[in-house]
Symmetry: C5
């Protein structure tokens, strides 16, 4: 998760401390060689490293753009999971009407909304390559948890349980045919978001491009001190370290952003988002339970009392 | 809100007045040192700051592009809220038919359209981190307002009230099953827009990138006077201030644009948009009430009179 | 409207004739000062204006990209209005079946299709800030026109009239419930396109960015003659005018493109598009009327004759 | 159509042979003047044309990007026409069930699928500005062809015929109400694709941008020989021709790509795509006819035999 | 397939070994000529190749961006195939209810899910230009396989078989009318993904652009040694090879990425994705079969026992 508070400058430079160390050694050596061994000839025109620098920054800008797009797409997908989870809960609560007959539908509503929370948590674990089986225990019944024990793809099977419940609801007459199809549409949206995350997780960013840029950055770093030494003398050392660090930093950032499900600080905050979903859904459920009690105590509601209720 | 009238040049430069102050001090010092202390050697080839400038402007252009995309997406999301609010009002007015039976449906229509206005205002407050509970008081009934008092996420619960009303409408037979599902689809769109805004609000722009660019800009500013002093002498001072200010300005703009819900002048104008929605929806409601009175006075309308009415 | 024929070179340069005038004066003055007053020292290395030029062209390219995107989005929205108007007319014609009972539905079809034409024309006027009330007079009945007289947002109210007619059609049994919902979906699409255009119209392009670029362009123009004078002498004057004009031109173009509903030649051609829609819809309506007459004369059509008709 | 085989190098350079001719004349003249007339002074620093070159390549890259986007969008729209035509044929074949009653529905299926092929061919002609009336003769009945004779917008009217057939199918009871609405949705997709192509066809790429770039390219070409002559002597001539040709070539390519419906080799291959659609749809129709014969010979099929059939 | 493990540096450079060979020969010759034949005059200012380098890297960056977009779009399309295959399987399992009557619907479910697996495998083969007829043998019945023997476009016909089964299901009453239309929508999504892949496969990247860039890269390589020789002497040879290789590498990468269905290592991993789909779908089917057995043994389930089951 990327929060303003938890990325201090020291953290940023900590990411490339090895590179900073070797850069200092290298540029100091060049300075010493130039000054004490009279290797005057090694100085090269500044035009060469600077052109290389322009090319690299152009390529790095494009690359970090694409890495940013992957990261932002991952965030959008989880944003959709939030939206669709709320919509699904709203549909569960409002489509299943408490008053068709006298049976209490609250347990069913609770079961489906809790399973949706379980789905979010287990997808989060699944994407990070962790054990997804731990994530649903608190939210589904023991029987359902047992049925999932030997399953390979937990979130996919939870979706299937949702679909089974929809069939059951239709058979019981608690939802109508249009509502089943509509809620199945919401399940398809979950399937799309889940598949989108898996696509980002499993598709490696083209290696050729990364290797090529890394290769150019190193070439640039090796040449840079010779281009600056003529004008800056000993001040060449901090300048080389500063400019090279920038390139290494931005390269590092692109590598972090391009894989947003790898347990790193720049990850999509799937755990925090899942908790937000849990909080929102539980609030909706609580409201629904309270209303349900009121309505149940008033049953049966005639058309007239309904008309009164809306005024 | 960004309006042509309220962003004078003075405002723009006011944003970076601290930077302008220090830039003037710094470049004047360099000039004085160079002229009176004969620090002739400090002059460096213009190629070095100019290359740095090209790299920075490339990176800044990309960054302001991404900041602009966030800002524009926020605007698009609120544009969708306008569109969907109008569509929702149209559906409330035209799906609930006044003439199925003799009861008056105007109160229900009014209630739902007013709640939609309340939703817009409270979402606006919610996104800016202000108290969303103040926003709905004028638009919902006292009972409904009391029910929302202890609620954490106001707009989410208002949506849920909409969904409850749709269930009620279906049970009363005032809308049919397809209409319920269709209006629920509109609620899902509101959920998507709301979640999209929250995503932009809660997702910090990658800090590494910002820090890296800021770091390069400062490096550039420190080097610039030494590159210009040879050719411009005392005119170096205004030039340094002008060029550096440009970079600071565009960096500032990117920072403003990337977070469009922070009570700043470059924000998405959520309050103004909510007021436009209120105005539009009230006009539609007024038209509807007038038509309704005419129709109610003509009741019952036979098929024949309807056929006459359309000619 | 941007047509190949109506943008001659003279028009293009006419846009920036003031700038060309002052540029000529300024660069001539520099030349005269340099030659006759022996201000030899004012010459500066070409590197400085050229780097500034690269930075500006990078920023201008990004800016015109974003302006182009706004302009192209406006065009796409009006393209959607064309598509949806045709689809709406097709639905009006084919969903309302002439043969359910013996009443003639042609007047209703005509009324709705004409109202759609009225909507296009009045939206066009509304977006350009002109009086939208003039636009619908020729297309709707006198009663409907009177009802719209005091209305603030004409296109929004016309959409509402469409929705009212759909309710009427459903009540008359001339369309079924799925068809009402489907046609209401088309109305929502109109609402989206209308809202999208209003968003582009009402959202000012970030001023900071524009002001910053304009500021850099002027800085560049002021410096340019001093950079070129050493190599080109008197030829410096046309070169300065040519290069500076390019930057002013492209800046001007971006300003025109970014606001596509302002009664300028580069506007989205909403009037021409509305006329195309009118032509297309009237052709469809004419075909429909002719077919309708044939079918009415054949009434009643038995299943058998229908089967014959399709062979 | 852009195929690997039919764009040899000679073709590419054939596009700009006039420019190559004049470039050779011009750079040779500069060389001769410089060498024999001792116009030594005309040499200018390489920095000037090179900076101009960088600016132009930046603008050209953006412009060819936008031209590429138009070309690619045109291709995507025709890709959608392929997809939707296949989906429409699938719906015609599978929604109209042969066994509701004993009448043979094959002729109706054939008629609609053939009309879809006619639509593709006539849209292709319509977009290229050719006579669209020739395109449908082979695919629709003589009566329908006669009805289309005086029609202005052929593809639009063919869509309307589709919609009329859908109404007929619903009235005959050969499709149900949901199927009509679903197939009408497919017709709306055709309307969207058609309108999208017309939008690209009718919207001129902003002339200002094109004229401005062309103007800069010519300025660059005029200056280039003076920048190179000092270092390359007679070799300046091929270098000038090579570098300038590149700019002219990429500008030419952008002009070709930005208008993909103009009977040029870089066009969207609408004729070839229409033929592919024809081939696919006829294969589906043939399969359907064969199955239909088998099923018809087995009629009536009891539930039991159906159950048997699926095993 | 692009995996981190299988792209070692040696592989990357293996791609351009011919170019590396000739680059070494060429730059060595220039070095030898310069040193031993005293061709001092051949040295040219570094500005010329470096400007050419900047222009090329700008164009290459744009080109690899567009190639990357094609590659990423292909990946997204196959991601959608994964999502929609799972959704389709979920619909097959949950829409077809085992308990409407006593017949066993498991065979039908198995048949449709297996055909979906067959579709994925055969589409994968079809896109790579391989024999698609081999791919479905293991998944469909012998009768269906025979029916497909003479078919040209295998995946298209498999989709048609799906549609036929949906009609059969509707006729048998195993799904309702909304469910048929919804599942047909999923088939349309498959049609869109398939058509999207074929579009990428069949649309050649604009040749002009590629040829132009290749031409500039070669020009750059020919000039580069003359620009570096003055400063680097014999070190010019590795520098020329390194810089030129970078351009060739990135050009190669763009060529690979732009055609993602050509049996190359950078291809979209359609075979692996198809296997994942097979694994997921078989797991869902297995779960369904187990549940089905449990439910069948409990038949008939009264409303009461269902109510019990959900608690």
């Amino acid at each position: 998760m990327l929060l303003k508070e938890n990325i201090p400058i020291s953290y940023l430079f900590g990411q490339i401390k090895t590179q900073i160390f070797w850069l200092t050694i290298y540029s100091t050596s060049v300075y010493l060689m130039h000054t004490f061994l009279n290797f005057e000839d090694v100085s090269i025109p500044i035009a060469i490293p600077s052109i290389l620098g322009t090319i690299i920054s152009l390529l790095l800008a494009f690359r970090s753009n694409q890495a940013y797009d992957r990261w932002w797409e991952a965030r959008i997908l989880w944003g959709r999971i939030v939206n669709d989870s709320r919509s699904f809960a709203r549909q569960v609560i409002s489509f299943i009407d408490n008053s068709y007959d006298e049976s209490d539908k609250s347990d069913m509503k609770k079961r489906m909304i809790n399973r949706q929370i379980a789905w979010c948590h287990s997808l989060s674990q699944h994407l990070r390559g962790l054990n997804a089986h731990k994530a649903y225990k608190d939210y589904v019944s023991i029987e359902e948890a047992n049925g999932l024990n030997n399953v390979d793809h937990v979130p996919l099977n939870l979706m299937d349980q949702h679909a089974n419940d929809l069939r059951l609801l239709l058979r019981l007459g608690w939802i109508n045919e249009y509502q089943q199809v509509k809620m199945d549409e919401t399940l398809s949206k979950f399937s799309d978001s889940m598949g989108g995350c898996e696509r980002i997780k499993n598709t490696v960013f083209p290696m050729t491009y990364s290797v090529y840029i890394h290769f150019l950055v190193i070439l640039f770093v090796l040449i840079l001190p010779f281009g600056l030494i003529e004008f800056f003398g000993v001040f060449q050392i901090p300048l080389v370290v500063a400019i090279s660090s920038s390139f290494f930093l931005i390269e590092k950032m692109a590598i972090h952003l391009q894989d947003p499900f790898e347990n790193k600080p720049s990850d999509t905050p799937t755990t925090a988002i899942s908790k937000t979903i849990e909080k929102n859904l539980k609030e909706l459920l609580k409201e629904c339970m309270e209303n349900s009690e009121i309505q149940n105590s008033n049953l049966p509601i005639s058309n007239k009392s309904l008309a009164f209720y809306i005024l």
